[in-house]
């Protein structure tokens, strides 16, 4: 494993935070810019804006999946899914708090949520390390990271469904109709599945990151279906783009699997009688 060049945690952290926040903010800023220009571009920008939220969500999924990988490597004793669920649990609390508390200063919402999630994650990580005594050196850092990525995933995909990240808007379009549960669960699986599927002695980061991209993209497609109910055309764009990205990332993952395996052979059907 050591001879393979890996992406550093900091690099992925930057991809997650910058990519995630950029996507989330574009859902708000593009329609705003469109209104300034006016005419047809305004309609186009307004239609494509929500899709960027989902793209930001994918960046956070990739980051979160790598954070899960780093901490779950030590063996949590409870299985990898538990860490995805706690990430989403902390993420959703922080997301709701961040988006609601800022009231009219809407733009500050995602940042406040991100900071809140980091603090919450840090505290849970600190307790896990020092009170429960899990003896995992990267626990505090990774718990902070997964909580932060969890909150970006929630806000990003919610923004893709609601059109922007104003809390009142998200409550009507994401919470009231129950889509938030899809965001919560599918987002959690997107984040925990890559390591859960790839773990083992021959686990490689590159393969895992492509799989994370594909789970993020399939989440985007599912969110696209939800968004067609709430936003119409924008949802269709999210759906189609999500499926496209999924095919690309899955093919990459597929290639990596073939590359890493010593050989891939067909075993044929199980013989009817024992030889």
């Amino acid at each position: 494993m050591s001879d393979v060049k890996e992406r550093s945690p900091n690099q992925l952290l930057l991809i997650g935070i910058i990519g995630g926040l950029l996507g989330i903010y574009l859902t708000y800023l593009l329609p705003f810019a469109g209104d300034k220009i006016g005419g047809n571009p305004a309609i186009v920008l307004r239609t494509i804006a929500p899709t960027f939220g989902a793209l930001g969500g994918i960046c956070a999924v990739v980051w979160g999946a790598d954070a899960v990988r780093r901490v779950a490597k030590y063996g949590l004793g409870t299985g990898v899914p538990s860490i995805g669920q706690i990430a989403m649990g902390m993420g959703i609390i922080a997301a709701m708090f961040g988006l609601a508390i800022v009231k009219t200063i809407v733009l500050a919402g995602p940042i406040v949520a991100l900071v809140t999630a980091s603090i919450l994650g840090f505290i849970v990580g600190w307790f896990a390390q020092n009170v429960i005594k899990m003896k995992i050196p990267v626990m505090i850092r990774c718990m902070t990271e997964i909580a932060a990525s969890g909150t970006i995933i929630i806000i990003g995909f919610s923004a893709a469904v609601a059109g922007n990240f104003e809390f009142a808007n998200i409550v009507t379009l994401v919470f009231d109709n129950g889509i938030i549960l899809a965001v919560f669960w599918v987002g959690a699986v997107a984040m925990l599945h890559p390591f859960n599927a790839c773990l083992g002695p021959d686990e490689k980061q590159k393969r895992l990151l492509y799989l994370a991209g594909s789970t993020g993209a399939i989440t985007m497609a599912i969110i696209g279906i939800a968004a067609t109910m709430t936003l119409g055309t924008s949802g269709v764009i999210t759906l189609v783009l999500g499926i496209g990205l999924w095919i690309i990332f899955y093919k990459k993952f597929w290639d990596e699997v073939y590359h890493d395996a010593s050989s891939v052979v067909g075993t044929g059907l199980i013989p009817k009688t024992e030889a």
């Binding site: 949590l76 004793g77 409870t78 299985g79 899914p81 538990s82 860490i83 669920q85 706690i86 989403m88 649990g89 902390m90 993420g91 959703i92 609390i93 922080a94 709701m96 708090f97 988006l99 609601a100 508390i101 800022v102 009231k103 809140t116 919450l120 505290i123 849970v124 307790f127 896990a128 009170v131 429960i132 005594k133 899990m134 809390f167 009142a168 409550v171 009507t172 919470f175 009231d176 129950g178 938030i180 549960l181 919560f184």
Partner: protein, 242 residues
């Protein structure tokens, strides 16, 4: 900014208390994890979080149903609805799991942690297969699980009851229920995972020596984290405009 008034503090404390109840609940539920799925350890063959959350969320649904359909329902009624919902869910899980262990895998139910079942007094150690940590769900595990489910259901219902009361005054009933429900979900997952790290994935129930060893520090952690969640939940109300 909201001033510190007694109702607010009570609400935060109640959410902290419910988080602690959920944490305690996890310790009561016989979780066997992967070894139990192969009938090599006592308990239900899945993870702590899945069981605690599965039963707790059913409790949340029954509690929410009671809240919506009974006008001015007293707190006790909501909590009871949550507890019963959770208990039914976990009992049916353990019962169907037990059927599979008994008639599918064909193992005698025995606990590796105690020599005699504290409830029935039946001898346990002679029935344990070699190289395993017990199998199936002995009576004590079943009872312990039911108690745990009740605690978890009460915890989930209590958070929901407190939050829906706060948000209900600010936004429409549907939105309040949705926001409160999702927040409860978040607190529930955090408090189900934290103790599962404490017990290290598997626990047989209240009779397991592990119970006494870890319950203290887990509860301390959960209480602190839940109080923090409670604080955030109450502050959200300040940001929701009617």
């Amino acid at each position: 900014m909201v001033a510190i008034d007694p109702t607010l503090l009570t609400n935060i404390l109640l959410i902290g208390l419910s988080g602690t109840l959920i944490c305690l609940a996890v310790h009561f539920i016989p979780v066997g994890g992967a070894p139990a799925a192969m009938a090599q350890a006592t308990g239900i063959g899945t993870g702590t979080v899945e069981l605690a959350a599965g039963s707790g969320l059913v409790g949340l649904i029954t509690a929410a149903y009671m809240y919506t359909n009974v006008e001015n329902a007293p707190m006790a009624l909501i909590l009871a609805a949550g507890a019963v919902g959770s208990m039914v869910m976990l009992a049916s899980t353990m019962f169907s799991g037990g059927l599979i262990y008994a008639y599918g895998v064909a193992v005698p139910f025995a606990s590796a942690q105690v020599k005699k079942d504290p409830i029935t007094g039946d001898r346990q150690d002679t029935y344990i297969s070699k190289g395993t940590q017990g199998q199936g769900l002995p009576t004590i595990c079943f009872v312990s699980g039911i108690v745990g489910a009740a605690l978890g259901g009460i915890g989930g219902a209590l958070i929901y009851y407190v939050l829906v009361g706060i948000y209900g005054q600010l936004i429409s009933a549907t939105s309040a229920a949705a926001v409160a429900g999702v927040f409860t979900l978040g607190v529930f997952y955090v408090n189900a995972v934290v103790p599962s790290y404490g017990v290290g994935g598997t626990i047989e129930g209240v009779h397991d020596p592990k119970f006494r060893r870890v319950v203290g520090k887990d509860i301390f952690t959960s209480f602190f984290v839940s109080i923090l969640c409670g604080l955030l939940a109450v502050l959200i109300a300040g940001g929701i405009s009617p």
